[in-house]
Subunit: 134 residues, 2 copies
Amino acid sequence: MNNNSDNKNNTFSISELAKEFDVTTRAIRFYEDKGLLTPARRGQTRIYSPADRTKLKLILRGKRLGLTLDESRDIINMYNPGGSNEDQLSTLLAKIRERKNYLQQQLHDIEVMMLDLQESEDRVIDALNDLKTQ
Amino acid sequence: MNNNSDNKNNTFSISELAKEFDVTTRAIRFYEDKGLLTPARRGQTRIYSPADRTKLKLILRGKRLGLTLDESRDIINMYNPGGSNEDQLSTLLAKIRERKNYLQQQLHDIEVMMLDLQESEDRVIDALNDLKTQ
DNA sequence: GTCAAAGTTTACGTTAACGTAAAGGTAAGC
DNA sequence: GCTTACCTTTACGTTAACGTAAACTTTGAC
């Protein structure tokens, strides 16, 4: 056996995750600083579980949707109720629904922008054809 | 007639637009600094046409989708071919398609996140029901 | 043992997108 | 003429999300 960090238990090194998701290790450590990830350690070295990997995935998805890291952390926390107090649950429910509404708005924005771009594309294609059949 | 800036020709003052879209006048001027808007002037005062208003709308839509102002400017410029050179048109076409791909990715991200949030919402609702029927 | 690759911490630098004064011009209403 | 409301420019401040560099340790391969 020659290279890979972990062969049996499925865990990941920081550079493995960095490669897989095409981010820098600096970024991953930064997410940890901000409290979004809390990998285990073997000595000094960080060891990432599949759960950590999933969280990173969620973070990056959030980024693509224009969320801040704080917002992504909130969303990640939404996935496991945790505090079972009724007030907390209600607050959480409200947040979830607010998020869904925002996503709904984004969906609409994308639809409209897609249509606009499609029109632009059509016009550009027409213009190109005009040049060629000239 | 008592207040509004313009009664006949439909133009807008900076604060009118600021109110309508719920942004600050500072932000609107900033977009101008960055070359995204170029309103007419009456003396020093900025006067916005419906076209300017539309551009502002595009900018804000872009923001909601996580675009930078530079990217939004690019997109706005995509809407009118302008330079009719063939190379330019091809480049433009490529950009448009790249944008569409990105939006496609975002659509997928939203779908997935929506589903995840729906599951979370269901779980939270169940938890709340459990508390009440306890 | 040593060399390169990958890991670590600490810390200063950078960019985007405005916020927030400061200091002043202009026009309407009283 | 004075206030009030809205406009202007100039300019320094701020936050988020890392980049980049320095200085050091650990580890597998030869």
